[in-house]
Symmetry: none
Subunit: 217 residues, 4 copies
DNA sequence: AATGAATGAGTATTCATTCAT
DNA sequence: TATGAATGAATACTCATTCAT
């Protein structure tokens, strides 16, 4: 009702640690019971603080989930695109680069499969999360699209934007299916198929080194 | 999901119609407000019956959602595989058959995008739905896998099961992104990319007719 | 959040009785603990029903207080103006009629002094109650004003509206001070003073009979 | 209202100023949001100090409201009775003196109508405030009563105490209705009626000068 | 078969007050 | 003296489910 509710922005070491404890506890709770099964009281208890303290750091349980997910996605995103150019400089082929992305993506998704489930469900339930996920995904495909454009002469495809999105979709869904659960087929066969499909699709020659494009011409 | 109470199995015409009314009302409610925003009272009201009647036909709101989704998926599944063989007999190429699947899938997913969202969220929230979705998806990939095996000599790929799943994944996610959301790229470009990717991946020659395999040998 | 909350309008005998029980319990609670000290749970408990039942009959505690007060004011209002004309026909003087009003007002205010306190506080706290009280008071003064106009030739005063309001104010406050508590002076002396003040103010001759004005002229 | 903790009685200039700042902030908060809508944190924030500091100066929010109201009433009370004798010495009539009181009362009540509302509501809600208001009102009527006794030979009325209270009641309520609300009749007509009613009631000749009573006899 | 009144555990959130720093 | 982080009891309100009629 009143607008004097200020959310605590921790500067002190103790406060920062308390906020972290809350986020860790929240992650555990969300992972175990889902969004609707989790409540502020439980999170606070898990973190060893009072409900009041929870509400001092976060406006509500949606806010804390948001912050948790945000932090994770930032980590994932960074980890994927960071090493790509280095790989290429090492003379990796298209197929190898794709394989590397699969490996990184796999690791990222397996950081916390439980949380991943919650995150995935939220984008279908909540408008804010939907929007956030869309923006996030958009960012990823844009990066991928740009990445593809830097090597356009090695590519089969011409519509880079569409390709980036379709490939990202295939990656997403396959990662999720592996991370959240039911692998009807062993993970390696699945990843091999994924690598094969996207490599064949994207590259003129998936097994040629990607770097030093000038030399090939 | 246990059936501790006797749930009415309608034999009478009036009962069947009442059950249908309940399911229609439920679909509308779930679509508009999501699973957690919907309650039994609202569904009953929408169907013009009492809460008691609702509970006479369904154990709880999960049960009615289950039944609704089940019905839809059956329809979708049938619509996709029904016409495939006919297409092939008409001399369609691999690319054309894939294109046909995309068209059917698109229609199916756009039958009720709202409900689709609920369905998608539920598989991340609820164990029963997760299991169901897995089985369903498994069924689809199995069918696809079998379908691929009937034309193995025309295919690039060798691991049919893995291919079926990866292709199904790419389809799923792309359909969903179009159905539930903000397409960053126009739908047609996306679908073309999807068709291109999967055709190139699956077939030795995506533009050769699939039928009469004996002739080619 | 959802708008399917329908407030139960009792038609059955049992329901009507339940609603009455709730209102009686609420009156007791409000009287004893004031508005902010009372909660739905307590009212329900007092009425021997569950909280849910409370909320089935009333949207919130404000609503039930409103209904209680409304009922009381209707009773008060009716009791005051009902017998006035009869008194006049019996040849009562202005002073006697005023005395009669004081008597009726006193009875009305003493129906439930505790509730009166709550009612009075609410008009200063809550906008809806303020508005309601204003309307109600307006109604009373309007009636009084009309009543005065029927005997304008017997009156000293010329601005009937202003007189009606000032007289009503004097009545109100004196009634309240007697009903809610601290009589620094005995009630009868106070009422006599009130009668004296308003009679002298309103009438040319407070001790002449009010009826049959034609005869006097 | 018990003082279990040591409440700071400011002697230092800085402390006095801090207390004033708190009271000013509290007035603003109470006026804007009422008693129940206001909380210690908000007041402290408004005063630019910490909650702890608030509790160092006041036991709770009731205490600060008490102090604020007390200060205001003292001011009002003084302003009303201060100039009365002077007016009389200037040869004012009874009606003119009453008119002067109305003017002063009006000004006093309009100092902070918002706070007035809070004050009025509190006397119906809280026992301590009720008692305080009673005492305060008692004081006013006692003063008025004494004032009247100094001019008993000019008065119609004989029961000075009762008259003082009834007149005070009429004043109170009319002032409040003007200050807090929707005047159904213009303020001037209302005040004129009030002056007329009380003058006619109190004085033998409302239009004769009050001073030098000996000369008249 | 159908109704819908009744239940009450459960949930999110606030805020007066304390107390270690 | 002053701070403001921390506490946790308390509150309004909802909704899945039952069961007497």
């Amino acid at each position: 009702m009143t607008e004097q509710n200020t959310i605590r922005v921790p500067q002190q070491t103790r406060s920062i640690e308390k906020k972290k404890r809350l986020m860790d506890a929240a992650m555990a709770e969300f992972g175990a019971k889902g969004f609707h099964g989790t409540n502020a009281k439980g999170i606070a208890k898990g973190a060893g603080v009072s409900v009041g303290t929870f509400y001092a750091y976060f406006t509500d349980k949606k806010a804390i989930l948001f912050e948790i997910i945000n932090q994770h996605l930032i980590e994932i995103d960074q980890s994927i695109f960071k090493t790509l150019t280095r790989k290429m400089d090492e003379g990796a082929t298209g197929r190898e680069v794709i394989g590397h992305i699969v490996k990184l993506g796999h690791e990222a998704h397996h950081h916390s499969p439980e949380l991943l489930r919650v995150m995935l469900s939220m984008q279908y339930i909540d408008e804010d999360f939907k929007e956030y996920a869309a923006t996030e995904f958009n960012g990823t495909t844009t990066k991928l699209s740009k990445f593809l454009k830097t090597m356009s002469d090695r590519l089969r495809i011409t519509d880079m934007e569409a390709a980036a999105q379709v490939v990202a979709n295939a990656f997403e869904e396959t990662m999720h299916s592996v991370a959240t659960g039911q692998p009807h087929v062993e993970q390696d066969r699945l990843y091999n198929a994924l690598i094969d499909m996207t490599s064949i699709y994207l590259f003129k020659d998936p097994d040629a080194p990607l770097s030093h494009p000038s030399q090939d011409n």
